[in-house]
């Protein structure tokens, strides 16, 4: 069971995505059959709070507060594939 708030969103292609943090990493999982959680990137805060969004192009955005309390947004063009997240 994931820790923290679970954010869900359905993309234009019918996939429903869930994003959450387990206190260490930000994870993402599709509802497609056989899908496993994807570890997107390490989450340096401990409160488990993230915001998950997508735009019409399919790009994914995850926003969180870093250790200094600054708001950070990372995005991925690759449906959350690990290692593809860049800071906006």
């Amino acid at each position: 069971m994931a820790a923290g708030n679970v954010q869900t969103i359905t993309d234009p292609f019918g996939e429903t995505w869930a994003a959450w943090t387990d206190g260490t990493d930000v994870l993402l999982q599709s509802d497609a059959a056989g899908s496993s959680p994807i570890t997107c990137f390490s989450q340096p805060v401990s409160d488990g709070q993230i915001a998950f969004e997508r735009d019409g192009s399919g790009r994914m955005y995850i926003t969180y507060l870093d250790a200094g309390g600054a708001r950070v947004t990372k995005y991925s063009d690759l449906d959350g594939d690990a290692g593809s997240w860049a800071t906006l």
Partner: protein, 702 residues
Amino acid sequence: MAARGVANLVITDKRSDGYPTSQSWGMDWVMSDLARGANRPGAYQNDAGSVPEWELIGTRAVPALNAVILQPIFAAGDMDLDDWTQEASTYFKEVQPTGFDSAWLKYYDATEDQYGTLRSNSALTINPSWALNFLRAQPAHDQAEPVAISITVGVQASMQYQLYIPQRWIAGAAAPDSRYPSLWKSEDTGATWSLVDECRHEGARSWAQEAFDRPTWVWWLTLGDYLVIYLGDTCWVYHEAGLEIPAGMVEVTIEGGQAAFQMEQIQFTPSGTIERLVGIIPPEYITDDPDTIDTLGDVDDQRTIVATMETAGDTIWPKAALATSDPYHTPVLYAIQATREAVYDEGDASLLFDNVVNAGDKGKLHNLRWTIAQDWRGSSFSGKLLTAQGYDEYGLTGNERAQLSISLDTTPPVYHVVGTGYLVAPEYPRDPQLPSNEVIELQFRDRLSRLERKAVGDCPAFDGWYLSDALNWLFCQIGGVDPAELLLDDTATEYQFAWAPGSLNLKFDAQTRVVDAADQICRAAGRTWGVDQLGQVFTATSGDADYDGTPDYTLDESTVTEEDHIYPVHTAQDVSQARNQIVVLGTDAAGNEVRACWRMTDSMSNPTSSPYLGDLACDVMVCPPGADPYLLASLQGRRLATAAQHLIWQTNGKPNLLPGMFVAVTIGGIGVSPGTVMRIIESQGSLNEQGECASAFCAVAV
């Protein structure tokens, strides 16, 4: 001294040519009638293509092509990524879009400048038809170009076609107009591509701005020489003569964002029918149903169309059965044509009069005149017949067939036929110098006198027919000309009229005269037609025959007697026939539409030119398929510009000289340069009561 001549006039029964006991009949049904049918690709699961006047079972109308095909089947099953090989990217996966119960393949890289390609592991058949549904994500807010999808068929073959939605971008070229789908072709295994068509017709959506977040249906139907491409609500037809798409893999490339698709080669239901729901009651002048029912369509050994005429009581209607043993290809039906040939009675060629046979006792001819017209139309002959027994002796009332032959008074006589025609209207004038009413004035006109009285009626369209068959139908089936008296030029059996799906350009209204229809048919085929002195209908290509170097007659000092009267005339007589500009509408070897133009500008401005018209006199012609429009313009121009110098020449009897023959002029002092060769374009003759035979000719320099 005038030459003396003798005549032979033979008159036979009105029924000499036979008469129809059952007349010809032809009807056409063009599949453009079905254009009102619902034909959205999304309606493929039923036979909703039926329209009130037709019933379609297992078949579907293709209104954009004016055609009917077998019902396409698109199963829309699960896509399996294992059936494809990822090229240039690994970012494809299987998804199930909302509202669909089957798996699609999604390209999930949303990066603007990236793309991914899937190549099928199995090949499509030759000339494939396929369906593809795709769903595009919107462009990112900072992205200029929309997501594009392209489908390439015939991959790894030398000839490949590619549908690009929207426009393809060519490296190094100006930014593409991304609004429209485009069709590309490569003839070198994909090394270079050229744009062959765009979907820009009215109503085409802007593919840069629409069709996001909802699926778009694409149907690609390869039907003969046509590609019929449905893009959502838009239909687009591409034509290429000899179109052939090789069997090969298919590639789907998604570029500039996320998109998903499902794709499958279309199959066709094995058989289906189209049947007319509106019947026809045939006219009374045919004795049976049409005996031939044919189709215009695209068929082969595996793809067949069999048309039949259904009957219920007095009513008939057409039905066509389409079938294929090749599930990936369908026959294509464009038109149904039903015909029935006329049945002619042999007639009655009983002799009514022969002045040689009857000479001395019953009949005597005098004041004979004959004219053979310049265009071999409307030739005529006339004379007076003295009868010993009175008006009723020969029972002549009009429309009897006759032939007039003339011989110089030699032993034995050598007769030359100068006219074959039909009695127009015998007149019985009262001659006060004769003891009783024994003079009949006879006028005969050539076969036009009969043809001009015939309308084509229910005549089949001649699109796709050979010229010889079309003229046979007009002149023999309807016109009553004995096929043995129809002399077609050597290539008339090889000339085939083109046809375009859904349109019949050679379909005549029922009230059209046979003569007018024949004119139109011949003009379309670059021919002329006429009726010769023997009564035969003939066709000729490109006007007059060329001079072969041997004249039929030489006008020299020894032939010019005191009876000869020669009047040269320059231009004035016949400017009506002259042209100084010919435009031929056609297609060049590269397939470009051209307006081939032949001009003689001097003719408009230079009084010393020949012919000098001082005006624009122009004709526009349509080039027959396969002909060279430039060559045709040049030939026709030179022919029509030669009506410059005429010679009118009266002489004693020369009944053997006819229009089309060549006269070499070697004498001087008559206004025609010695050495000029002239073509006789019209001839006249007479034989008076004293037996004096004279001729007059009009000739034109060649």
